[in-house]
Amino acid sequence: MRRSPQTALVLAEFLSDEQEWRYGYDISRNTGLKSGTLYPILMRLAEHRMLKTSWETAETGRPPRHMYKLTKDGLCYAREVVSEPATEAVGEPAFDGTAFSGVGL
């Protein structure tokens, strides 16, 4: 699955409360993503079985809303993706002298 910065944003948002079901508009507000960007990401996550979808139990006079939550696989993937930039930032320097330690330099 493509790991775009927008996908990382959405996954990070889900990780902020792993157990809670989320509404699309709330995710959009918190991540700053427009519906046209957010929903293809959610659809891709669901397609890879990383996102569960559910319809809210209808209250009287109010149509049910669609809700989303990461699956177990989704949570693992989210943690992996979200931790990635941090790992890169703390990454080792490109050359630290150890690369040629075994070739007699």
Partner: protein
């Protein structure tokens, strides 16, 4: 209700109506969100963004292996009908080009006929190979005891379905044959004046065919991924 709000809801409703079967649920989800957004302009922005779902044309996703046999049946039946129908086309076209070859009054015209015949030969060979692959015995088995066979072994059926979907990717071969026929015909008719409108129409036809093929391929790849996920789930469940 303000005009902006009405416009937003109108767009959302149309998105739901025109969304592909696989995106219907998402389009409905977007519509519900548009209804609860407080600001009218934000709702309109949301609704406009939701039209992006219309670009995604996909069939309904498979949710369990139990749904695979019906999908396989549909694909196999479709392939049989499609294969039978399109087998006649290259044969007829090939015969026409062969006839034109002998009446053509220029080298360019004859070269066009050769290209056309070549397209037909490739198409017929490809189609016959496909038919051979799905051998007679297998076809008979699929037709007669198809349900027993696939309903008893869902995993085997899923693998068979995957193979069928993969073979659909080779449709570009048929498209290249179509190109050969068009080129052959244009070369044969090189003395005839072809107006701009015909060129535009032909170009659009090619673009539409290419887009349809791309969409089909994308949906097949998506379906293959779904089957892989379902098979992995089944395997994981069996291990536990």
């Amino acid at each position: 209700m303000t005009l902006v709000r009405r416009l937003a809801l109108g767009i959302s409703r149309r998105v739901v109506r025109w969304a592909s079967p696989g995106c219907k649920e998402w389009a409905e989800g977007l519509e519900r969100e548009a209804e609860v957004i407080e600001s009218d302009w934000a709702a309109l922005g949301w609704a406009i963004g939701s039209t992006r779902v219309l670009l995604d044309r996909r069939p309904v996703s498979l949710t369990s292996l139990e749904e695979v046999p019906a999908a396989t049946q549909k694909l196999v039946d479709g392939t049989m009908v499609f294969g039978t129908l399109i087998l006649f086309r290259p044969v007829i076209d090939g015969l026409w080009f062969l006839r034109w070859f002998f009446v053509a009054n220029s080298t360019l015209g004859r070269a066009g006929c050769v290209i056309g015949v070549l397209g037909s030969v490739i198409a017929v060979t490809y189609l016959l190979m496909e038919w051979r692959r799905l051998s007679l015995i297998e076809r008979r088995r699929l037709k007669e005891t198809y349900k027993d066979y696939i309903y008893n072994d869902l995993v085997a059926c899923a693998h068979f379905y995957k193979e069928q979907l993969k073979s659909c990717h080779k449709l570009w071969i048929y498209f290249s044959c179509f190109l050969c026929w068009m080129l052959g015909k244009l070369m044969y008719d090189h003395n005839t004046h072809v107006d701009m409108f015909t060129w535009v129409l032909l170009s659009m036809l090619f673009i539409v065919i290419l887009l349809a093929m791309h969409l089909w391929k994308q949906n097949n790849l998506r379906r293959i991924e779904e089957i892989d996920a379902l098979l992995a789930e089944r395997e994981h469940g069996a291990e536990l």
